[in-house]
Amino acid sequence: MAIDGFDNISKERLSALADGELDPAASTASCAAWSQDPQLRADWHAWHLIGDVLRSEDLATDPRHDRAFCARLRSRLNSEPVVLAPAALAGPFGSRLERPSHRGRWTAAGAVAAGFVLVVGTFAVVRPGESPPAQIARNDTAIAPSVTSAPAPEVSTQPVAVVADSKVIRDAQLERYLEAHKQFAGTSALGVPSAFLRSATVDSAAR
């Protein structure tokens, strides 16, 4: 926990971030500081509570409740696959990248595959902002197989099984959405990356 001058700079930045008035690079740094500094987290809560109360007094809540709520949610988030933006990813497997730290039984092959996914994702991130329609369509579909990606039997190893456990798969509305979008999936969007996925998971299963 920093004190005084330096502390105030990072606090003021966080305050600007709360208002959406911080540039992306500084936002990244500010998020990192938030996650490391309990004082900044306490400030973040206090400031938003203040804003809520200024707008409406019935939003004044017991801070113990807020804290318990967020602690509980954090532990649930920790068992969620990390989401990555579809716009940033070319493959159907990329939008939900498993986090190794929460999946104790990750194999080396799986980790290598994830590394590859990350690289592909990174390339897509630096792609120019204006995507052609075809790209957008592919991005739409990109989420679908990653969430429901259990269809091929040989794919349904560790990471997929975990996703299949989650409630998303039982959400009829989402299911329909995913189905609808799968129909429009270009073969190029699905074919090549699933081949990567398959080989990685077969490798890991072979161990």
Binding site: S27, H45, A60, F69, V147
Partner: protein, 202 residues
């Protein structure tokens, strides 16, 4: 208001895989989401559960969020849908209209849906809430005119720094600093009420 979404930088962070940025959004919106769900759901004990589910669903769906609406508008819709769905699943009396809400005490024959005190409704919690509201109002009154105006224009009027700078006839950097100092001054008054007693931290 067609101002750019203040949550856009955080949403962008989440999309890049930063789960902490999502936690920041949770801390920001948890109260509003719980209040919204509390208006729909009769059983107060269900409110936090449905709010948790809302945020988890939002997290999973975030890759599809394209920023066509503000993040909160999108989250609001997820909360409403999650509440409806949860209630249908539980086969409980799903929606509470304003009139039913007003008449709740009279037509409460069924003990099954009796509102048990939850942590959001215990006398302790109610007192804490009242103290916080009073402390915020008191602290805002105690601010200098510049700081009070800056924080009010931002939090109540929802203006951007640029708009506030124009209104207050000062540089944007000054606006940023005034808002920050106002928050710090109010938070300082709140701190005795917010400080953790049981050693749990943010």
């Amino acid at each position: 208001m067609n101002a750019p979404d203040a949550d856009a930088p955080l949403v962008e962070r989440v999309k890049q895989g930063d789960v902490k940025a999502f936690e920041m959004l949770v801390v920001k919106y948890q109260r509003r989401i719980e209040r919204l769900i509390g208006r729909m759901v009769r059983d107060v004990d269900l409110v936090p559960d449905i709010a948790q589910e809302t945020f988890i669903r939002a997290y999973r769906a975030l890759p599809q969020f394209r920023g066509d609406s503000a993040f909160y508008t999108w989250l609001y819709r997820i909360a409403v849908n999650t509440a409806k769905k949860s209630l249908m699943e539980l086969k409980r009396d799903p929606l509470v209209t304003e009139s039913a809400r007003a008449g709740r005490d009279e037509d409460e024959d069924n003990p099954r849906v009796e509102n048990e005190p939850s942590d959001a409704a215990t006398p302790d919690a109610v007192l804490a809430s009242k103290q916080i509201a009073a402390a915020v109002n008191f602290a805002v009154e105690a601010l200098s005119e510049d700081l009070r105006q800056a924080i009010t224009l931002r939090e109540i009027e929802g203006l951007s720094y640029e708009e506030i700078a124009e209104l207050m006839n000062c540089p944007i950097g000054t606006v940023r600093s005034r808002i920050f100092r106002a928050r710090e001054a109010i938070a300082a008054r709140l701190r005795p009420l917010l400080d953790t007693r049981e050693g749990d931290r943010w």
